[in-house]
């Protein structure tokens, strides 16, 4: 049955089979591999025909494929059981690691979740990567009137573009608006999305209920139909079936609700959901009636198959000259017209939509992610230290296992399984924690208008991120003890402890401590900078009063006050507001300062030609805002429509236009624009410089003119009202008073100081979180330092004992132990300072009135950290002096 005995070189088949045994875990292979090879060899030898050999091979391969994975799983389960047992024995250790990991991973995940929602998430439409926005390269540079944050083009340009372009298979224009719903005078605002053209077709959206609004770009006003968002439909209409009689009274127009948009689609701007979609209709059905200087729409298209963004941009660029030539607004001077005709269109990705929230906080969020990442890195270093200490305590066990024939890979795997288990549980806890933390973060960004409407969720990207962080953390704190097992001698550790192992551990620890010091300096400096910056922001005096000011907005259109009567009526309204109890003074303005709005005209004064910011104000404006007149006079009720046109300018204006000489009595001339013909104003006063539309930036040249001489009075008036009562009280009394004069007028209001502070939420959150992470980083570094010195003292007990016995002084011993700590701190601080100076460039633009390399901050941060690190090393170093020589020597 079997061939005669005799030792032979294994056949090629057996060698292949042996090689395949590598599929098994090492331990199983060591135990049974040889025997399995024998069995295979026997069977292969016994197989005489090709078919039989084929059968032997099939069985062998099938067996390998099914059994080897099973063995791996069994091995892993065994290691897991062992790890759980070991961790349960050492509950303090397990708890420390888990809490650290949960917090670290949780904080990282929370911030990443916010980034995902704000910056990375695609629009929930078909093939979002094929969507592009059409915009003017470099923006319109302040030309004309831009109505909203997202507006990019004028409607005449959009219509012309739609006719001429070939790059997009579908294209539409959109803009955001506010719709007033409800019956006068008690109205409330809803968010509207005005759409021109085929938005639904272009985005590949189908209505949730009913049908879509018209895709006709030329639909004449007034509108007849609207769609509502799924959110509005559920909230306001209880999700009922749409009937043909379903109506929405919006801005005084009666619209039929023809459909509901799908729940996933919340608009094109991140964090700004809409309530209703309304066609962007054509007034009087006449394209020629559209204002050519009004930038009020954004345009989105779907690239034709085969077209890239670059090709689309090239195509749009080629169209630009003709397009802007054909739509040039009249009423501008040569320089304005030239600027307009020089615009070039470009296509940019619209894959994840647009978003003011993103533009404002994107960088801050990535920076925060960097900070939490660094904190986690530092905490991992401490965990590595902890694991090293624990591994040292387990040397005996490891050595015994090695001596009993345990393999090193098996030991390494055991360590890896242990920290993998900790990382997985930590990641799970962190993920749960992150759900709360990310919502807390979002809440931290909330203003009086509430938190940004951003839906946070756990998607594959968040999961992948958390997974990657956990794996990295596990490797970071788990690899050190694994590296260490390679140095343990089976015999050596059974006897006395090897000095070389201790040296190895001490070296790893020294590197960890310096790196930790460096990273914590970076974080501490960041914290100090952001906190100081925020402090400067809140205590900064922009030159304008902020507190005790209520902004009242009066709607003239609903009250049906004809345009020619508005100026006169406005004076009566302001006079009425002034009689409201608690109101100290009131004045109208065409531009609210410090809240981002800007309003500019070209100006010529003598030979100087430049831009200046214009505001038309009532006489009460200067006293309300606390603006000081430094020369000449302010504006009064005697400055009437028909009297001499006058202006008050600021000191920056004088510097720009008259070289600092007094501008009183000089005449400035505005450059013509539609509705704003070239006009001469005589300068009668100069105000002190103040900030204009934000706290940042230099004070621009500013011109104030009387509201009675405003050439383009609109449908709304803004009245800055100073009072010593809360805004709500002022609003209530003012409303009652105004309705007596003008029944049915819409009156809205907000608190000016609160609105200004709302603009600081980003900086506030940054200061709070950076401060928090700075403190944590400092603590982590201190703990690391303490651990290192404590270990050094422990390791050198014998030496210290001998020195004490030989008569070394207490302070000499302390100095000896601390010398190393001082060196490491200095190395760490130098490294950290270098890193901070490089990193400072990144945050420069996020700081207010402070430089990232501010010497006081740099010195202060380093001093705080050095002092705490030295204190942390002094505590264990003192123990060095108390070593009892006899006891230390006896222990060895």
């Amino acid at each position: 049955m079997t061939p005669p005995a005799g030792r032979r070189r294994p056949s090629r088949a057996v060698r292949v089979f042996r090689a395949l045994l590598a599929l098994y875990p090492g331990e199983f292979r060591d135990e049974y591999g040889r025997e399995m090879a024998f069995v295979f060899a026997d069977r292969h030898r016994a197989a005489s025909t090709f078919v039989e050999r084929l059968l032997v091979w099939t069985e062998a391969l099938w067996g390998l494929a099914t059994q080897a994975p099973k063995e791996h799983v069994q091995m892993l389960l065994h290691d897991l059981r062992y790890a759980v047992r070991a961790l349960r024995k050492d509950k303090t250790f397990a708890l420390t690691v888990l809490v650290t990991l949960a917090l670290g991973i949780g904080a990282n995940t929370a911030i990443f979740q916010l980034i995902e929602a704000v910056a990375l998430r695609n629009l929930p439409v078909a093939a979002p990567d094929r969507l592009a926005q059409v915009r003017i390269a470099g923006g319109n540079r302040g030309f004309g009137i831009t109505t909203s944050y997202y507006a990019q083009l004028t409607r005449p340009v959009w219509l012309e573009l739609r006719r001429q372009q070939k790059a997009f298979s579908g294209i539409f224009a959109w803009t955001q608006g506010q719709g007033r719903v409800g019956d006068l005078p008690e109205v409330r605002n809803i968010a509207t999305l005005y759409v021109s053209g085929d938005m639904f077709g272009t985005l590949g959206l189908t209505p949730w209920k009913g049908t879509t609004i018209t895709a006709d770009t030329q639909v004449p006003c007034p509108n007849r139909t609207a769609m509502v968002s799924h959110g509005y439909w559920m909230r306001e209409m209880g999700g009922r079936e749409l009937r043909a009689s379903e109506r929405l009274r919006i801005n005084g127009e009666e619209l039929q609700i023809v459909g509901v948009t799908p729940p996933s689609f919340t608009g094109l701007a991140v964090g700004e959901p809409f309530d209703a979609v309304i066609p962007l209709c054509l007034p009087h059905g006449d394209e020629a009636a559209l204002r050519r200087e009004l930038f009020d729409v954004a345009v989105v298209g779907r690239l034709r198959p085969g077209w890239t963004l670059q090709q689309a941009t090239a195509h749009l660029d080629a169209l630009s000259t003709g397009l802007f030539e054909a739509t040039v607004p009249t009423g501008y001077d040569a320089s304005g017209t030239k600027l307009y005709k020089g615009y070039r269109l470009e296509a940019a990705s619209m894959q994840s939509g647009v978003g003011a929230v993103r533009d404002r906080y994107d960088k801050a969020l990535w920076l925060l992610l960097g900070m939490t990442g660094l904190v986690l890195l530092m905490a991992s270093a401490n965990l590595a230290n902890l694991l090293l200490a624990r591994a040292a305590a387990r040397d005996g066990e490891v050595a015994i296992r090695l001596a009993l024939g345990g393999s090193r890979p098996a030991l390494a795997r055991q360590f890896l399984v242990e920290c993998g288990l900790l990382a997985v549980v930590g990641a799970g806890l962190g993920m749960v924690l992150a759900q709360g933390l990310s919502r807390l973060l979002l809440w931290g960004l909330s203003t009086t208008a509430g938190a940004p409407a951003i839906a946070l969720r756990v998607d594959w990207r968040v999961l992948a991120f958390t997974g990657a962080v956990s794996v990295a953390t596990c490797l970071l704190f788990g690899l050190a003890p694994i590296a260490r097992t390679s140095r343990i001698q089976a015999r050596g550790a059974l006897g006395t402890r090897g000095a070389s192992q201790d040296r190895g551990r001490a070296a790893i620890q020294r590197v960890l401590v310096s790196v930790q010091t460096a990273l914590s300096l970076v974080l501490v400096l960041g914290a100090l900078l952001f906190v100081r910056s925020f402090h400067r922001l809140t205590t900064f005096d922009p030159g304008l009063r902020r507190d005790g000011i209520t902004v009242l907005m009066l709607g003239y259109e609903e009250a049906q006050i004809p345009r020619e009567r508005r100026s006169e009526a406005q004076r009566a309204f302001v006079a009425a507001i002034k009689t409201v109890p608690g109101v100290i003074d009131a004045g109208t303005t065409t531009n609210i300062p410090l809240l981002g709005g800007s309003w500019g005209h070209g100006v010529t004064l003598g030979s100087v030609e430049n831009g200046a910011n214009f505001t038309w104000i009532g006489p009460g404006y200067f006293p309300v805002m606390g603006l000081r007149i430094v020369e000449g006079r302010g504006l009064t009720l005697d400055d009437r429509r028909e009297s001499l046109k006058v202006a008050v300018v600021n000191q920056a204006f004088a510097r720009t236009f008259t070289g600092g000489a007094s501008p009183i009595g000089r005449t400035l001339r505005t450059h013509p624009e539609p509705e704003y013909p070239a006009t001469d104003y005589v300068i009668v006063g100069v105000t002190a410089d103040t900030k204009y539309n934000s706290f940042q930036g230099e004070t621009p040249a500013m011109v104030y003119c009387p509201d009675s001489q405003f050439p383009a009075i609109g449908a709304w008036a803004t009245v800055m009202t100073r009072s010593d009562l809360p805004s709500e009280t002022v609003l209530r009394s003012a409303k009652a008073k105004l309705r007596q004069i003008q029944p049915g007028m819409v009156v809205d209001s907000f608190d000016f100081g609160q609105a200004v502070r709302d603009g600081f939420v980003g900086q506030r959150l940054m200061a709070m979180l950076a401060g928090f992470f700075g403190i944590i980083a400092g603590l982590v570094a201190v703990v690391g330092m303490y651990g290192m010195v404590a270990y050094a003292v422990e390791r050198r007990r014998r030496e210290l004992g001998v020195r004490t016995a030989l008569g070394a002084e207490r302070w000499q011993l302390i100095g000896m132990v601390m010398r190393q700590a001082v060196t490491l701190v200095l190395v760490g601080l130098a490294l950290g300072a270098a890193l901070a100076l490089v990193g400072g460039r990144v945050i420069k633009s996020m700081l207010f009135e402070i430089q990232p390399n501010d010497p006081w901050i740099l010195g202060g941060g380093a001093a705080i950290l050095a002092a705490s690190a030295l204190l942390a090393s002094y505590v264990p170093a003192r123990r060095a002096a108390r070593v009892d020589p006899l006891e230390a020597l006896r222990q060895e």
């Binding site: 089979f17 025997e35 069977r43 062998a60 067996g63 059994q67």
Partner: protein, 125 residues
């Protein structure tokens, strides 16, 4: 690493039943004498008329499990005179293994008896 034993807490033979088919056949082949892996395999193949052919992988997976359960024991390596005298590892039944194999055989016998009692199989004449 030390060998792993995953013996159930109640060490009664019945707690191991029913035995997987491979396991039972391996125990049976070790009932009359100690064998090494290939010998077990040949014996099983012979007794089942080649119906059950154990691959090296499934054979040693089963052996590992039986060792861990304490049903078989490993003997010192020794040459096999029948198979080219190479040193092979031999296995034998432990007393527990023998009791378990018997219990399984009795269980199967009872099954057979039940099948006959119901007329599913012809009664023994």
């Amino acid at each position: 690493m030390s060998p792993r034993r995953t013996v159930p807490d109640d060490d009664t033979p019945e707690s191991f039943l029913p035995l997987p088919r491979d396991t039972f056949h391996i125990l049976v082949s070790l009932a009359d004498r100690d064998r090494h892996g290939y010998s077990v395999m040949l014996d099983v193949a012979e007794r089942t008329g080649n119906a059950l052919r154990l691959s090296p992988s499934s054979l040693y997976a089963a052996i590992k499990r039986l060792l861990a359960q304490g049903l078989i024991a490993e003997l010192a390596e020794r040459p096999d005179p029948e198979h080219d005298d190479e040193r092979r590892r031999y296995y034998q039944l432990t007393p527990l293994g023998r009791r378990v194999a018997k219990a399984e055989a009795r269980r199967l016998e009872q099954l057979l008896a039940d099948a006959r009692a119901t007329g599913l199989l012809p009664r023994r004449g």
